[in-house]
Amino acid sequence: MVIVPLLLLLGAAFSPVQSGRIDLGDLNYSNFVNVWKEAEFGRHLLVSLRLCTLVVAITLVITTLAAYAIAILNVPGSKWIFTIILAGLMIPLESILVPLYFTLRAMPFGGGATTLLIAHVGLNVSFGVFWMRAAFLAIPKSLIESASIDGASPFKTFRMIVLPLTKPALITLGLLTFLWTWNDYFLAVILITDPDQLPVTLAIGEFATKYSNKYNLMSAAAVLVALPVVTLYIFFQRKFIQGVLTGALKG
């Protein structure tokens, strides 16, 4: 029941007929070539890749630092700071979108990919801090204590002990951040106005509207968009499932 629609999509992507009807004797990959050319897929792919890389990198850096301050350094007030950050998991995107649009549009880079970058990073803080804090709390206290007795600075402890010990959690967070950023459509459709900076989901969405009766081309486009995430999913399946189920509450 789950797999049939997926197979139909794959079949249609290789179908030479517009309706996407599948004829196993006559499959070719020209749809992919056509989509790549007509939708300028390469350019949008680069926009998305750059966006995702930056979002993942910035998210990992700022949320691990914050989680370290909360879980290990126990900065004064970290309890209520954490509560406020957690509250973000309960706020649906819809309820911040309208003002966010007006704030970001007024920026010099308004309408470009930078607005998306900022929005994604900000939206990832709650889950990232929540996720990394839990991982940091699982580190045996004695390890951190002995490091500080040995005279390691808080930052050195962070880099040499805390981060290496929580590598699996970091990888999961990175994968999820990539997934959410790559898959996003809603934020992009509202925040991006510059046609040169459309991420790939949006570009393909517009492509699909323009060629709404060429189902074979549309399917090829869809397969191309899904490919990076599906590839990652094949390799890190467990991490994805575990992360998505925990991150499900993320607005």
Partner: protein, 301 residues
């Protein structure tokens, strides 16, 4: 603090500079979070008290945006569609998930890694891909109409996504498809954690399959049920991408959802206050859903 006080010299150091430095660690995240999430949350509430076209000066209208909703047929329609979507996004997948969990727990079949990966796959696909899949199945010369023709039900063929009656259920089915695998996965792996002693005890008591399901399986799956409900209900409440990519709420307004209405109010009809107010309503509803689920799940204990 617990850690630092382990050694007196470090504790002293911490008092001097530790908290300041610690705060620096927090700062980047707090700035990003404040700018993107916290400030706009309050702004949304503030905007919702105004009549504003996004350009000229806003006019304070108090609660009028909300009061206007009470007599606005479009809002009512959008939220009634949400109820329909809840059936498809939540009720149907959860029921099927529970059913499959019950059946599988009886047969003791371990379900394979491949099966796991496939049923979860729709969760990681982007909405554009899902929209393309379902548009293709339900298009005028799509596979469904082909199948109907093949079995001689030509009279039933139609442009499903152009129909006032069928568009919403068809989109709902696409939603069921995306959430079903997740529910099955949750419940099937959940039953693996239920102690077999409970099942043995139920059998000794002479419980049939149905009694066993309601007295052992269902209570044992309570945590998974809470996750599945929160997830699918909030997904149903927020439906946007799928509708926007297929019908834009049409034909007419027959598949409009609150999020689509928010979009068109705030960004195409220049009624920013009303758009923000819909956002606030959605936030409140999401909160209520989460709180009710937590309460109900706790009460049963």
């Amino acid at each position: 603090m617990r850690i630092m006080s382990a050694s007196p010299s470090i504790a002293r150091k911490k008092k001097k500079s530790g908290s300041k430095i610690g705060f620096l660690y927090l700062l980047p995240a707090l700035i990003a979070y404040g700018y993107v999430v916290i400030v706009p949350t309050f702004q949304s509430l503030w905007f919702s008290f105004f009549k504003w076209n996004g350009i000229t000066e806003a006019q304070w209208v108090g609660l009028n945006n909300y009061i206007g909703f009470l007599s606005n047929p479009l809002i009512k329609q959008a939220f009634s569609h949400t109820l329909v979507l809840i059936l498809f996004y939540s009720v149907l997948p959860i029921s099927l998930g529970l059913l499959s969990a019950a059946l599988i727990s009886k047969t003791q079949i371990r379900f394979s890694g491949f099966f796991r990966s496939v049923i979860f796959l729709p969760q990681i696909l982007t909405s554009v891909v899902i929209a393309v899949i379902w548009r293709q199945i339900f298009s005028t010369d799509g596979i469904l109409n082909d199948a109907l023709r093949a079995v001689g039900l030509e009279s039933l063929t139609q442009p499903w996504l152009g129909s006032f009656t069928f568009t919403l259920p068809v989109l709902g089915l696409a939603g069921s498809w995306t959430t079903m695998g997740l529910c099955m996965l949750l419940f099937i792996s959940g039953t693996a954690n239920i102690s077999t002693e409970l099942y043995d005890a139920a059998k000794l008591d002479g419980a049939g399959a149905i009694r066993e399901f309601f007295s052992v399986t269902l209570p044992g799956l309570r945590p998974q049920l809470a996750v599945a409900m929160t997830l699918t209900l909030i997904a149903a409440l927020r439906v946007f991408d799928l509708v926007w990519l297929t019908t834009r709420g049409g034909p007419g307004t027959s598949s409009i959802t609150p999020s689509v209405l928010l979009y068109s109010k705030a960004f195409t009809q220049s009624d920013v206050g009303a758009g923000a107010a819909i956002g606030v309503l959605l936030a409140i509803l999401a909160l209520v859903v989460a709180l009710v689920i937590v309460r109900v799940m706790d009460d049963k204990d």
